[in-house]
């Protein structure tokens, strides 16, 4: 097991290296100068040159990369060009905020969508199935920003049940913090529920057609036992993979939801830093995104044997 984990981490290193080198180069190939942005429309060439020198942007690209990469190996991701904040602590602080929303939303979505998908497959073409598929398709089709605004207008403005703007950390005040997180979590939950439900249904349908399910029924097992002990365990693999991808994708940035609900998460940080050409922050965010993908996929792989005995880790 340990060897497997270590091997996966070592295998991930080239991926991470390629990601960070690509991000480093690509963002500098995009037109737009952080110094000119900081100095505004009054910037003269001398002032811009001075700021370039101060920020180290007057160095050659290989040298800039070597300096940045050298610092990275010591755990130093540099400082934000815009605010001067330490990038590592900034990105981590914002990531933990995003993670609260994403993990809660995906967990809830799994708890609702997986059983719903399995039951919909069990009752294929029945009223339950058609309703579940219709709702899932509708939820998948509505963009998150629109869903968010609808919730904001209905729960916040019309019913006045939840606060419309602002954010309070759960660590600072658990009750108020939870109130602020309900709508963003609900938005993501509704959106992702549709995706997961459809996958759970489709993979269960495939398994339900197999001979061993017929055999199980012929043995006289209850429908519940057939469904959950035999069908679910064997059909959950693809859904589990999808959950891992959804989680990795969302942890990489939910900028739209964060913008609508004024949540100071990593997605908003990444978008703001791209518009501000804040290179160190962009690099820090992208490194975090890549790491999250690697870690989430590793966890997904490690969990396979828990429900699928055909998979072993060697």
């Amino acid at each position: 097991m340990l060897r497997f984990i270590l091997a996966r981490i070592v295998m991930a290193l080239p991926t991470l290296l390629i990601v960070i080198a690509s991000v480093f180069l690509l963002i500098r190939m995009v037109p737009g100068d952080p110094a000119a942005l900081m100095l505004g429309d009054n910037a003269d060439p001398a002032s811009i040159a001075m700021l370039h020198a101060k920020l180290g942007l007057d160095q050659s690209l290989p040298k800039q990369f070597a300096i940045w990469f050298g610092n990275l190996l010591t755990g130093d991701l540099g400082s934000s060009i815009a605010t001067g904040q330490d990038v590592l602590s900034l990105v981590w602080a914002r990531f933990t905020v995003s993670a609260q929303v994403v993990v809660a939303a995906v967990l809830l979505a799994c708890l609702v969508a997986v059983p719903a998908g399995v039951i919909a497959a069990w009752r294929q073409n029945g009223k339950l199935d058609i309703s579940a598929v219709s709702i899932a398709t509708l939820l998948m089709s509505v963009p998150t920003f629109w869903l968010g605004l609808l919730l904001l207008l209905f729960l916040g403005l019309k019913l006045r049940w939840l606060p419309v703007v602002g954010y309070v950390s759960i660590a600072e005040d658990p009750w108020r913090g939870t109130l602020y997180l309900i709508m963003p979590i609900l938005t993501l939950f509704l959106h992702e529920m549709g995706v997961i439900l459809r996958m759970a249904r489709a993979s269960t349908l495939e398994v339900m057609r197999l001979d061993y399910i017929t055999h199980a029924r012929a043995k006289g097992l209850t429908e519940s036992a057939v469904l959950w002990r035999h069908a679910f365990k064997n059909s959950f693999g693809p859904t589990w993979t999808l959950i891992g991808l959804v989680l990795g994708n969302l942890l990489g940035g939910i900028a739209v939801v964060e913008t609508v609900f004024t949540i100071p998460g990593v997605g908003r940080l990444l978008v703001d830093s791209i518009f501000g050409r804040d290179y160190p922050v962009i690099q820090g965010c992208m490194l975090m995104v890549a790491l999250v993908y690697v870690v989430v996929n590793l966890i997904v792989d490690l969990c396979y044997p828990l429900f699928d005995p055909r998979v072993t880790i060697e």
Partner: protein
Amino acid sequence: MFTRASLLALGILAVTSPAFGQTLRVALNQDLRSSEPGVNRDGNTDVVMTNVVEGLVSYDKGGAVGPLLAQSYEVSADGKTYTFKLRKGVKFHNGNPLTSAAVVWNFDRYMNPKTNWYCLNDFNGTNGTKVVSYSAPDPDTFVLQIEKPDALFLDSMARTDCGGLAIMDKASLKADGSWDKPIGTGPFTFGEWKQGQSVQFDAYKGYVSAPGKERDGFIGKKDPLVDHVIFMAIPDGATVKAGLESGEIDMAIVPESDVKELRANKDLAVEVGTTPVRNSFILQTRDPVLKDVRIRQALAISLDYKQIVEAVTDGLGRVNNSPVFDTSGYFGDVEKKGFEYNPEKARQLLKEAGYKGQQITVHANKRSTVPSFPMTVIAQQMWQAVGLNVNIEVLDWPTQLSKYGVGGYMMQSTSYSPRFDVASGFEQISGDKDKQPRKVWDNPEALALIDKAMETLDPKVRQPIFDKLHAMILNDVPIILTHNRVSCMAHSAKVQGVEPTSFSYGVWGITKKD
């Protein structure tokens, strides 16, 4: 169900109730850039920080410079020595008295290149005026000398992008000399800053206001009338609107298109005014096509400005083709006369210039705070109607700005940041393109006139110069100005004293009824 709703409602009450005393909640479209005035800054940060820090001089509501921390100031006969008498009784937020020694300490800090003061080059001789010395002959007097007379020196000291040369206590720095937080003399103290979310300012009970019976731009009566102010970073316009309607936000700048709807809400009000920000199309006069002044003139007179401005401001803006902003004292009958809308004459000019349908590309951006894109789309139709082949290239703002900086464009739709002094406003767009490619108007006669306007503050001398510059720029057409930015400040009906101008985020003098 009832129980759950009640619990949630109770929770909201807990969320929306101020911790203590009256709290004014103001929306910003983005967070403060830093808490260090004039060093790490942007437009929002400049104005928000005027609540916390003050300089020796600042702007009144008409854009003229007046004393703020100074009781008075005198300029020597040769125009090189400025003597400031400090207001008595003023204390920093930590209780330390304002003295001329503190002013000297601040000047030492600003003039030190290690501080990275945004305006250092404007004060050390690199870009004009050079401060040669300053001293504190007595605790209430600060004397400063510049190398040669400069009528706009006080204006430079007041500039918000320079932090208004904020005078702060030494304790604003940590023991190691690095920045901590601003300890100024303003009506509010700098409170808790949750970066990316909000910043809280608290009323400074020991505030000593400048003389005056009412607020007057950044000077005049500036007493804090609410206990706390929270500036909240809310980037999404729809969320801001929902926040205003739910009562969770007390004040916010809103787009013109929302004004009618918000005014229909009896719990809200909207103050509308114009600012010195100038919306424009700039033209590259060195471009092979646009170097012909007749084509530039045709571009200018083929636009129906009334229609454009009405469309992009929802009927709230006024046409202004002059670099002189329309609330300036120098905006007279001459400046009111803009481009004549004459599509027939435009066609004639194009024919005379031998225009054969060469493509003209206009850079525009979709930032929500400027009318760049909608204005360009409407103008494109009008240009095409007279036979001009105009293409729009939409760029993100950093890309457009970088192209602007090197003069790498045919045309751009852009907005110029405010300059309260009219001569500075002309200088902002004018200059030698060989030395400063970002400048759009490179006319030696105009540059000489601008220099002349910068030598004096006498309106009798300046007005004819500005009138002449206005006429010249309409003829040269290096820039097509359309209108000054409309500022729409929406606020709760409980909030009184809101300014619909560039000074909107200065929240002194604002009251909020419970």
